[in-house]
């Protein structure tokens, strides 16, 4: 047996994972190799040192649990974001949580692991902005975002309808005819909208197929790039997963 092979056997023997034939081979090698014998002695010294130390466990300070809980009390459990939950639903794996930098509490810095969002207890009443921040949640952001999106969409629809009315493809309801004259400036506004509509229509119908192809390719490329960014993000968050 080579010395190198015997070294691995020694480690296994220390863990009691060596079967009898292998142990016999190791013994045979040790009997004939002074270098390995010295190594074996040193290994056993290290082993027995560590085993002895393991018999004397270190005990945590008496107030350890209390200290942990006082930090837990000011650290709300962080829920995974909507994006994380979606990502987990689509890709599997586990959600991760971004931990924010340490926040000062009453002027005192609280060390956190990487850190976590802190509910900062304050003297006095919170201001308007803080109240809004406390109210704000991912769900509320979604709600507000959806509301503004719906608003924007209805504006666009209104604008398009107005355009159709002005260029005369659609009969204008009689109740709205007065409003569309816009207090005497109706004619100029109608001309402007009509001109914009014509330009837009020309743009859409007059597009070169080559340009359209190039635009499609560019969009696909952007899509690929986006997925690379997503993949990098996912890899990074996987590295952040602790367990």
């Amino acid at each position: 047996m080579y010395c190198r092979a015997s070294h691995e056997l020694m480690s296994l023997r220390l863990d009691g994972r060596l079967d009898l034939p292998a142990a016999a081979r190791l013994d045979a090698h040790l009997a004939g190799c002074a270098e390995c014998r010295a190594r074996w002695t040193a290994l056993r010294e290290a082993d027995s040192l560590l085993r002895q130390a393991a018999r004397r466990p270190a005990t945590p300070p008496l107030d350890f649990a209390a200290n942990v809980m006082s930090r837990v009390a000011i650290t709300p459990a962080v829920r995974p974001s909507l994006w994380e939950r979606e990502r987990v639903a689509v890709q599997g794996g586990r959600p991760t949580v971004k931990l924010h930098p340490t926040s000062p509490i009453n002027g005192r810095s609280v060390p956190l692991p990487g850190s976590a969002v802190l509910a900062v207890p304050r003297d006095g009443r919170p201001g308007l902005w803080e109240q809004f921040q406390a109210l704000y949640s991912r769900r509320m952001g979604l709600y507000l975002g959806g509301l503004s999106l719906a608003g924007a969409l209805s504006l666009v629809v209104l604008l398009l309808t107005a355009m159709l009315w002005t260029v005369g493809n659609l009969p204008v309801p009689t109740g709205l005819q007065g409003a569309l004259t816009l207090g005497g400036h109706g004619e100029s506004v109608r001309t402007w909208i009509s001109a914009t509509w014509t330009v837009l229509a020309d743009l859409v119908t007059g597009i070169d197929p080559w340009v359209a192809g190039a635009a499609t390719a560019a969009v696909s490329l952007l899509g690929v790039l986006w997925w690379r960014i997503v993949a990098a993000f996912v890899r990074r968050s996987q590295r952040e997963i602790l367990a």
């Binding site: 056993r44 290290a46 082993d47 945590p60 350890f64 837990v72 586990r94 692991p113």
Partner: protein, 219 residues
């Protein structure tokens, strides 16, 4: 010359309050109880989490103590590990063992700290491995303190990942498979790392010479 020493599996440290025993039935009961605590903690119940802290503080603190070498550092790191567990409790997969998950958080944290510390570490040659503690000790515990200092200095010579497998093997008395589950390594990688770690320790001992009080039981 024949060396045949049987190494019994030493009862390494187990968490206090007699919670972890080897009996499967008891273990199941323990785990069921834990699952209830975890569910309650997930719902925001801090007293349930406090029960988990109470149960595992010894195990986590010990791991950190052996990884980092100092009591103050160990306490900070162990607190951080629990806080991290609290923040990320929802990422805990129910089919895993809670202790494995918690200790893997603690070990990752310790490795991070050690890596950050590496910049200010001193080269091996300048370390007085068998130096005794400079603090005054009662006569009776001097030997124990010396041995503790020795072990600390010895572990200090290992790079973080080797240190982790060594600490898990000796101070948590985990099997290769359990270490693999905790570190995310394969079982054979654990075997190799443990082998290399021991080789380094043995080399250090041969280089510096072992203290006389270390080996009372060797033939």
């Amino acid at each position: 010359m024949t060396i045949a020493v049987a190494y019994p599996s030493t009862p390494a440290f187990v968490a206090p309050s007699s919670c972890v025993t080897g009996l499967p039935a008891v273990e199941n009961a323990t785990q069921a109880e834990e699952r209830v605590w975890i569910e309650r903690a997930l719902a925001g119940d801090q007293t349930a989490f406090a029960a988990l802290v109470e149960r595992y503080q010894g195990a986590v603190y010990n791991l950190c103590y052996r990884m980092l070498g100092g009591a103050a550092e160990a306490e900070d790191a162990a607190q951080d590990a629990f806080l991290r567990a609290w923040c990320q409790l929802h990422t805990f997969q129910r089919e895993r063992k809670f202790s494995t998950w918690l200790l893997s958080i603690a070990s990752h944290h310790c490795i991070d700290l050690l890596r950050r510390r590496r910049g200010i570490s001193v080269p091996l040659d300048s370390v007085e491995i068998w130096a005794t503690s400079t603090e005054p000790e009662p006569e009776a515990s001097t030997l124990a303190a010396e041995a503790r200092e020795t072990v600390r200095a010895l572990l200090d010579t290992l790079p973080p990942k080797y240190r982790l497998v060594t600490v898990l093997r000796y101070f948590r008395d985990l099997s290769y498979l359990e270490i693999a589950a905790m570190t995310g390594l394969s079982e054979s990688a654990v075997k190799t790392q443990l082998h290399r770690a021991r080789k380094m320790l043995a080399d250090t001992i041969r280089l510096k010479g072992a203290p006389a009080n270390v080996l009372p039981s060797l033939p």
